[in-house]
Symmetry: C2
Subunit: 261 residues, 2 copies
C-alpha cells in the first residue's frame, strides 16, 4: 500500500551547496535573524536551488562561529515560512519553490499596490452612526453605541473594483477623509501604534442588488464576490468590522496556504 508514494520521490537530491554567509556580532539585529535573512535572500536569488541540501546544522554553526540553537532558530523560521523542509537523518533542503508567500493579513490597498497598480480611493461616507445589532456583536460594543462608519469605493485604472463598508470603534483612530483617500485603513491603524493580531474572515458570493450594481458599474443580478472581516489587535479588541463586495471580473483572492506542522 505504500509502494505508490514510496517509489516516486526519486533521489533527485542536489549536492550540498556551499554559501557565503557571515554575521555581524556588533549589530543589534539578532544573529539568528541575520542568518535567516541571508538564507532567504539566497533562496530568492537562486543561489540556493530548490532541492539542494543546506548542510548539517553543526557544521554550519561551526563555520559561522554560532551555536547550534542559534542556527536552528534561523532555519526554523524559514521552515515556518515554508521555504525549507527538514528531514531527520537526511538534512534540510530547499522546498521545490512555487512558494511565494503565505496568506497574510493584508488590505486590499496593499494588495493592489504590490501588484503594481496605484489604487485610488473615493470616500463616499465618513460619519458616526449607532451600532446595529450585527455591528455591535462583531465589534463587541453595546448596541446603539456610536461607531464610525466609512464607505469607500476602491478604483484601479479608473474602474471601480470594490465597495468597502467598514465600522470602527470610537476613540481608536482619527478618521481623516483625506488620509483615507491617500492610504489604506490598516496603514492608518499601524501608524497610530495599533498592533494587528488576527482577523476572522468569510468569503462568499451573491447576486448584486440594484444599489450594489450601480455602485460597481455592474448589471443588477451580476455575481459579486463578498468578504466580511473582523480584525483584532493583540489586546483582543476588535478594531474593525468590514463588509466588502468585489467585482469578480476584476478581483479574486489569491494566496498560499501552509500545512500546520
Amino acid at each position: 500500500m505504500w509502494s505508490y508514494a514510496r517509489r516516486v520521490p526519486k533521489p533527485e537530491v542536489d549536492p550540498t551547496v556551499s554559501l557565503e554567509l557571515s554575521v555581524d556580532r556588533s549589530s543589534p539585529v539578532p544573529l539568528y535573524f541575520q542568518l535567516s535573512q541571508q538564507l532567504e535572500a539566497a533562496i530568492e536569488h537562486g543561489a540556493l536551488t530548490p532541492g539542494s541540501l543546506l548542510g548539517n546544522e553543526i557544521e554550519l554553526a561551526a563555520r559561522l562561529g554560532l551555536s547550534r540553537p542559534t542556527v536552528r532558530q534561523a532555519i526554523q523560521s524559514l521552515v515556518d515560512k515554508g521555504l525549507l523542509v527538514r528531514r531527520r537523518g537526511v538534512g534540510t533542503q530547499v522546498v521545490h519553490s512555487q512558494v511565494k508567500r503565505p496568506l497574510e493579513l493584508s488590505s486590499l490597498y496593499d494588495d493592489l499596490e504590490a501588484a503594481g497598480q496605484r489604487p485610488a480611493t473615493k470616500v463616499l461616507v465618513n460619519t458616526v452612526v449607532p451600532a446595529t445589532a450585527e455591528v455591535a456583536a462583531a465589534l463587541g460594543v453595546a448596541e446603539d453605541s456610536e461607531v464610525h462608519q466609512v464607505e469607500r469605493l476602491r478604483l484601479a485604472h479608473g474602474e471601480p473594483m470594490a465597495y468597502l463598508c467598514n465600522f470602527i470603534p470610537p476613540g481608536l483612530l482619527d478618521l481623516d477623509t483625506a488620509q483615507l483617500e491617500a492610504t489604506g485603513l490598516y496603514r492608518m491603524m499601524r501608524a497610530v501604534g495599533i498592533t494587528l493580531h488576527s482577523a476572522r474572515q468569510t468569503i462568499g458570493a451573491r447576486a448584486a442588488t440594484l444599489a450594489e450594481a450601480e455602485r460597481l458599474a455592474e448589471p443588477e443580478g451580476a455575481p459579486l464576490l463578498t468578504m466580511q472581516r473582523v480584525t483584532f489587535d493583540d489586546t483582543g479588541r476588535a478594531v474593525e468590522y468590514g463588509t466588502h463586495t468585489y467585482r469578480p471580473s476584476r478581483y479574486s483572492f489569491e494566496f498560499q496556504l501552509l500545512v500546520r506542522g
Copy 2:
C-alpha cells in the same frame, strides 16, 4: 499622534492564574508538546481566561521540573497559533479569545465533517485524460501526458453543495471510486504517505454556465463561488490541481488569519 492608541489599552490585566500542570517523562511524547497541549486545553476549557497572565517562564519551568527552553518552546507554539501573546517586561497572556483556528489546508470533506454534517460524495467521472495546457502547467507535467481526472459532486443533506473537478499526476495514488465516495482526496493522499506541504489557491466568483447550473441545481446565470487550487507535497511536487465551484447559498469560506510576527 500616539495618544489615541496609547490611551485605550487599559490595564485590564487579570491576575496570574495558577494551574494544574504536569508532564510525564516516561512518555514518548515530547515534554514541550505535553505542556503546550495542556495549556491549549486549559484555554479552550476556560481555565485560562482571556487576558490572564501565564506566570513567568522561569518559575513555571521550576514548578514543572523542566528547563526554561522547553517551557519556551511550548509557549512559542501557542504564540504561533495565535492563542498567546508575549510582552517583554510584562509577561505572557492569553489572547482575548475570538481565536478559533487559523486557516488550514483543509479539504471540503473535512470542513463539512467538522461542521457535523456527514458529507456524501458522488463520483461522476474517474478516468485518465491527456493533460491540457492549463493542467500541465499547474501540475508541472508535459502537455498531453496522461493524468487522472476526477469529477465529484459533494452533497450535504441530499442537496448538492459543490462540484469538484480534480487532476492528479499518474502513479501517485490508487484512485478507487468507492474510496473516493467514502472519504476525501486529501485523506487518501495522507494514507499513502504523501506529506502535504502547501497549496496555492484562488477564490473568485462567476455566473453559472448552463452545465454548471444543472449540476448544482441552480438557475443558469446564478452566482457561483469558485476555487482553484494546486497542492504541493514536501518534495515540491504538485500532487493535485482542482477547479471547484460552490453554491454560495450553501457554502462560504470562513477562516482566521494571523499576522506574521
